[in-house]
């Protein structure tokens, strides 16, 4: 029925990523982080990537491993520096990695704009700070704003709780975070879910991401079953 493709193989789910792609990666800390898809992306080998995510990797796994493998040209994020972001820190300090720091709310809103067909918007966040330097500013109705442009992804890698066979998604608690926004902002959205349920099992009132935004679903439960 639905155009959404369902996979029980992480490598197949990310097969369409290409060199040079802008990849939106969900998650806030570990909550909502698509770890299985990121690992598959590392195996896949796509390089020269721009990664848009809230952070820039922790420890040696996930995003940090992608960076360490030398696949990323540029990171767009709100908070790269963390206690265990040593992979990013070293690459950045050596000049091997470009960095664009974006306030977290502008990051979310710029992706929302990309998904919603908004060409640009005036945000009050960051006005008068170094992060607004070089950007157009304007006073509207007595308040100062800075013009922010959309951030569009070629691909989004996100994690959700459940998908139905139509591609509709629900999330769980604060693991929702960037997932619904990134799903709208990418040309191709790839989601790992803990389980796929039959169409009809999700209440239409409670769907957070409608299937129209979902291109590929990786069913983690099916992987586990295949292994078992």
């Amino acid at each position: 029925m639905s155009r959404t493709a369902f996979h029980d193989d992480a490598d197949a789910a990310v097969a369409g990523v290409r060199d040079g792609d802008t990849v939106l990666v969900g998650g806030f800390g570990m909550a909502g982080m698509p770890v299985t898809l990121i690992d598959a992306l590392i195996r896949h080998g796509a390089a020269d990537l721009t990664v848009v995510s809230n952070n820039a990797g922790n420890g040696d796994t996930g995003l940090a491993a992608l960076l360490k493998a030398g696949r990323v040209r540029k990171v767009v994020c709100s908070f790269p520096r963390q206690s265990d972001s040593y992979v990013f820190d070293e690459l950045y300090r050596s000049g091997a990695l470009e960095l664009e720091v974006v306030p977290q709310g502008n990051l979310a809103e710029r992706m929302r704009a990309a998904g919603a067909g908004i060409g640009a918007f005036f945000s009050p966040t960051g006005v008068g700070t170094p992060l607004a330097e070089g950007k157009e500013t304007r006073t509207i109705d007595g308040r100062d704003y800075v013009l922010e442009l959309p951030i569009k992804g070629d691909v989004a890698l996100i994690a959700a709780h459940r998908a139905d066979r139509t591609g509709n998604l629900v999330y769980r608690k604060t693991a929702r975070n960037f997932g619904p926004v990134m799903a709208t902002a990418a040309a191709s959205t790839i989601v790992e879910v803990r389980a796929v349920v039959e169409t009809g099992a999700l209440d239409p009132e409670n769907v957070v991401t409608p299937g129209i935004y979902v291109d590929h679903v990786l069913d983690l439960a099916a992987i586990r079953e295949a292994v078992a």
């Binding site: 998904g115 919603a116 239409p204 299937g211």
Partner: protein
């Protein structure tokens, strides 16, 4: 005249509006997300195969809209954009108006089918206002729909009741959108419009040459 792949169905009457709707349904790829404008475009739904996987969007906040509700199915909380009660389909979902128009404006819908007063040879659309000085302007979602799908299809009769063509060099009625229409489905012909002008893909009841005599826009035949 060189070889052409334009199909000329000269052995029949012009299409009825149900037949136009059927032709549009034929051309919508299976699995598409589609918005059908209020009025005649709604008829397209009746001609979509049940197994086509086409998912209907209604801008008042629903994906997976079903057919018109009947009898006990009627629920005042569940209507289409024309305020007609409808039913759910499996896998449907609800969202608010800003999210619904974000879905449209963001280019996520594959196809939108609209009625029109006029379409220009370059795909400009006029369908919201006759320009009459005493008319009360009312646009609804027309301008959002006009720019809100990868393909915007127009469904209309080719000629107005006064005999004038609705496919024009340039719209004389106030515009709904600029260069937004990709195809025009009419009772007499199916046209592709855009930056390169008008290509005739198919005709009914007359030939391309006969059509050309009645229109003010240059017509090209489809390449073989």
């Amino acid at each position: 005249m060189t070889t052409t792949s334009t199909i000329e169905h000269t052995d029949r009457e012009p299409l009825s509006k149900h037949e136009i709707a059927a032709i549009i349904a034929r051309d919508i790829p299976s699995g598409s997300y589609v918005n059908l404008g209020i009025g005649q475009p709604t008829l397209v739904a009746d001609h979509l195969d049940a197994d086509s996987g086409v998912v209907l969007h209604t801008e008042n906040g629903m994906l997976g809209m079903g057919r018109a509700a009947e009898g006990d199915e009627i629920d005042p909380d569940l209507t289409n954009a024309g305020k007609v009660p409808v039913v759910e389909t499996p896998g449907c979902s609800y969202f608010h108006h800003a999210d619904s128009f974000a879905m449209m404006r963001g280019g996520h819908l594959d196809v939108c089918v609209l009625g029109a007063f006029q379409v220009s040879e370059h795909g400009d659309l006029a369908n919201w206002h006759t320009g009459a000085p005493d008319a009360i302007p009312a646009v609804g979602g027309a301008m959002d729909l006009a720019i809100g799908a990868k393909d915007v299809l127009v469904m209309m009769t080719l000629f107005a009741k006064d005999g004038s063509s609705k496919l024009v060099p340039s719209c004389t009625y106030p515009l709904t959108g600029v260069g937004c229409v990709s195809r025009v489905y009419t009772d007499l012909a199916l046209f592709e419009v855009g930056p390169d002008g008008v290509t005739v893909l198919e005709t009914w009841s007359l030939t391309v040459d006969e059509l050309a005599e009645r229109l003010d826009v240059p017509l090209r035949r489809a390449k073989g």
